[in-house]
């Protein structure tokens, strides 16, 4: 068994309750931080830990925290991003449902480090039952003196609120989230200014993912160096992976960064291999936004090295032959999967979720969906495939927020690695309507 940090106690009965959580050492980081450490010392430990944001971008958390502006007399906020709406990603849900106090502990310790006296958890609206779980846990924490005025008898006070989103993926983008939290339409803001300078109610704000904040207690308890010793290179610590698709054991796994992709897919400790003895065709390794890779490239890099579950290894080769760790939504597709159908589904999603503020994303996502619909139904032309490529390239990098990129990358990578399949859809429409699933033997793994 590899290292478990976040999910160490996940199977302890009653771990969702305050009593059991505390009996397993829960909230000790709050005690340690508030009573023995300065704010700067905590930020320093988080820097040393090498912890990187688990929401998708992988930005170093300690560095982000050190950017927080601290003007005299102005409130600061910590906002937890629990909007988790990226297709293929469901790790935050698992964490909040099973061990809600870990997030709350992380938020108290982190809020103290940042000097925030009011903090928010912005939860995806569809997670309504989780909102209840969090509210109960927060309630219990208040009663135990872990939240509210003078926490554990110190002069630090913190109020923690849960806010439900209303069903928009874009509200996971941090500035759209802040707009929504302020009660406005969830449109991403034009940056700069960044939230660390002017965020919630124009005050300095840090937005962090659930998993990021849940890693803070262990860093405070054991020190940044301890955390940095886990994992590989600049991918320190452990990462939750939401594994889904054609595998024997879908679910949420905590991995130590640096295990091989092959191990993750095929070992019984994790995915347990491809379902029904089928062959692996492709993987979307980090949530729907990241480039899809065919079996050979997800298992080994273009240089022939084994690909690892880490920020660097998954990105090896750039977009030509690599992908991204993203939020860790690991979607496995077997040989029966139609890349075109799958891409159509993704494209439909991004079209539906575009906020519509900027023209390339608003119009481009809708256009790509229409073209893919045409191709998948067997009415496409070769020119349509070229046009798709052209459209995605004109969305990428030209939009206000990264949703435009997130919509473009799946299209680009599917065409890059599976162009033959698109051409087949165009050239042999009759065969598509007969078989529901598309077979492309050339791209199958031999593993």
């Amino acid at each position: 068994m590899s290292k478990k940090i976040l999910l160490e106690h996940i199977n302890v009965p009653g771990i969702e309750t305050l009593e059991v959580y505390r009996s397993k050492g829960g909230y000790s980081s709050v005690e340690k931080a508030l009573k023995t450490m300065t704010q700067d010392a905590i930020v320093e430990e988080v820097k040393k830990s090498g912890l990187r944001g688990r929401g998708g971008a992988g930005f170093p958390t300690g560095m982000k925290w050190s950017f927080l502006a601290k003007p005299e007399g102005v409130a600061r906020y910590l906002v937890c991003n629990a909007d988790e709406s990226e297709p293929g990603t469901f790790k935050d849900r698992y964490l909040m449902e099973k061990i809600p106090h870990l997030l709350i502990e992380g938020m108290i310790t982190s809020s103290f480090a940042l000097g925030a006296n009011t903090s928010y958890i912005y939860v995806r609206g569809e997670y309504f039952y989780i909102i209840k779980i969090l509210e109960k846990a927060i309630d219990d924490a208040y009663k135990a003196g872990l939240l509210g005025k003078n926490i554990l008898g110190t002069d630090y006070s913190l109020d923690l609120h849960v806010q439900a989103g209303a069903g928009a993926y874009i509200c996971g983008e941090e500035t759209a989230l802040l707009e929504s939290l302020e009660g406005k339409r969830g449109n991403p803001r034009i940056k700069p200014p960044f939230p660390a300078i002017a965020g919630l109610y124009a005050c300095p704000t840090i937005v962090n993912n659930v998993e990021t904040l849940a890693a803070v207690p262990s860093i405070v308890n054991n020190g940044g160096e301890w955390y940095a010793g886990i994992g590989i290179g600049r991918s320190t610590g452990t990462k939750l992976i939401s594994a889904s698709g054609h595998i024997n054991k879908p679910g949420v796994y905590e991995i130590e960064m640096g295990i091989t992709v092959e191990d993750f897919i095929y070992s019984d400790e994790y995915c347990g291999g491809i379902k029904n003895g089928k062959k692996l065709k492709a993987v979307v390794a980090g949530g729907s936004s990241v480039p899809i890779l065919p079996a050979d490239l997800i298992l080994t890099t273009a240089n022939g090295e084994k690909r690892l579950m880490s920020y660097e290894s998954l990105a090896d080769g750039g977009f030509a032959s690599g992908t991204m760790l993203g939020s860790g939504g690991f979607i496995v597709m077997d040989e029966t999967t139609s890349i075109v159908e799958n891409l159509y589904t993704f494209a439909r999603f991004y079209h539906h979720e575009s906020c519509g503020q900027c023209s390339p994303c608003r119009e481009g996502t809708a256009w790509m969906e229409k073209i893919l619909h045409k191709i998948k139904d067997g009415h496409g032309t070769l020119a349509d495939v070229d046009l798709l490529w052209e459209i995605q390239s004109k969305i990428e990098g030209n939009t206000i927020c990264p949703l435009g990129d997130a919509a473009a990358w799946p299209v680009a990578s599917a065409i890059r690695h599976f162009k033959a399949e698109f051409e087949d859809y165009v050239k042999n429409p009759s065969s598509i309507s007969k078989v529901k699933h598309y077979h492309n033997m050339n791209n199958l793994a031999t593993a």
């Binding site: 034009i190 519509g356 503020q357």
Partner: protein
């Protein structure tokens, strides 16, 4: 102060100036086109992406180029910054795509659109777009709605520039409209149909770059190029009273704000001036409004010698730009 070079031309500007403002100071030959930015409206810009430019040198301190094209209307200059607008192939390409994106759902009903002849989307398409469309999908359509007695909203033509929303927020006493829904079905709407009716609501017509918001008192009265614009003023207790009155024959066909070189009004005017003062006797006429010779509006109106030779040499002047100022 910061020194910034745009397409090889250097200018010194105050800190906090945007690339776009600096480019406009240099002149129309380097100024990127804009569809959503409006100098008189705070927080405008950033949406349409027509003003994207390439920053080939970030600043003197950090000379690295910026990895992506940036919206010039929302990016502040840095000392030593070097920007490529029309000298960047990437910018030209991206701009062409933005035009395409803006047009794939546009009805292209210019022949029956009141805005034709003074439409920024027409100019943009003409200068930066391509002659052919690459889509044959059905275009998005909406019902026309009357928002109040004087203004019609033809959402099908809207490019979602947010200018009218910002006008309502910043210069009227209550915003009752905004953007509903999201993505490509976003629409400007009052949600539950209601009138946008206050003393300054008419300005949403002037800021609308396309024919989505039109003046019902002028609808279908005339093509703009058959009207003659005159600078005029009146004593008004609500606004400056400085406007342009557009004659069709001897009748005042419509009244608008005075637009500058960039097609943006100099001052917002009130609805009384705009909608209710349609007699010559209501106004003190100052003289003809200078119109860029390239504008279709100027056709046949003024003697050829009014065209300044300088303008003739600049082929980058937007054809339908109204130039404010006295005629010499």
């Amino acid at each position: 102060m910061a020194n910034i070079t745009i397409d090889g031309q250097t200018i010194e500007v105050a800190d906090g100036t945007t690339i776009l403002q600096a480019a406009r100071m240099i002149g129309p030959e380097v100024a990127p086109p804009t569809m959503c930015y409006y100098s008189k409206l705070k927080t405008s810009g950033g949406y349409c992406r027509t003003c994207l430019v390439e920053v080939s040198k970030g600043s003197e301190k950090d000379p690295r180029p910026m990895p992506k094209l940036v919206a010039s209307c929302r990016t502040a200059v840095m000392d030593g910054m070097e920007v490529k607008n029309i000298t960047s192939a990437k910018v030209i390409e991206a701009r062409k795509s933005v035009v395409e994106f803006l047009l794939i759902n546009h009805p292209l009903d210019c022949p029956i659109c009141d805005q034709a002849g003074e439409c920024h989307l027409q100019d943009l398409g003409y200068e930066h777009g391509s002659a052919k469309t690459r889509t044959d999908f059905e275009r998005r359509t909406f019902e026309k709605i009357d928002i109040g007695p004087k203004i019609q909203l033809h959402m099908t033509r809207c490019i979602l520039c947010f200018r009218c929303v910002k006008v309502a927020e910043q210069i009227t006493d209550g915003r009752v409209h905004g953007v509903m829904n999201r993505g490509d079905v976003s629409e400007i709407s009052t949600y539950i149909e209601q009138a946008i009716d206050n003393d300054f609501s008419g300005n949403i017509i002037d800021v609308c770059p396309v024919g989505a918001l039109t003046d019902k008192t002028f609808r279908f009265k005339s093509r703009v190029w058959f009207t003659k614009p005159m600078n005029a003023h009146r004593n008004c207790d609500k606004c400056s009273g400085k406007a342009v009155i557009w004659y069709k024959g001897d009748d005042v066909a419509r009244v608008t704000g005075r637009k500058d070189q960039w097609g943006e009004v100099e001052e917002f005017i009130c609805n009384t001036c705009r909608f209710d003062k349609k007699l010559t006797s209501d106004w003190t006429i100052e003289g003809p409004k200078e119109i860029s010779h390239q504008s279709v509006i100027s056709a046949n109106h003024y003697p050829a010698n009014m065209v300044k030779p300088r303008e003739l040499t600049l082929n980058n002047i937007k054809p339908i730009t109204l130039i404010a100022g006295e005629i010499k």
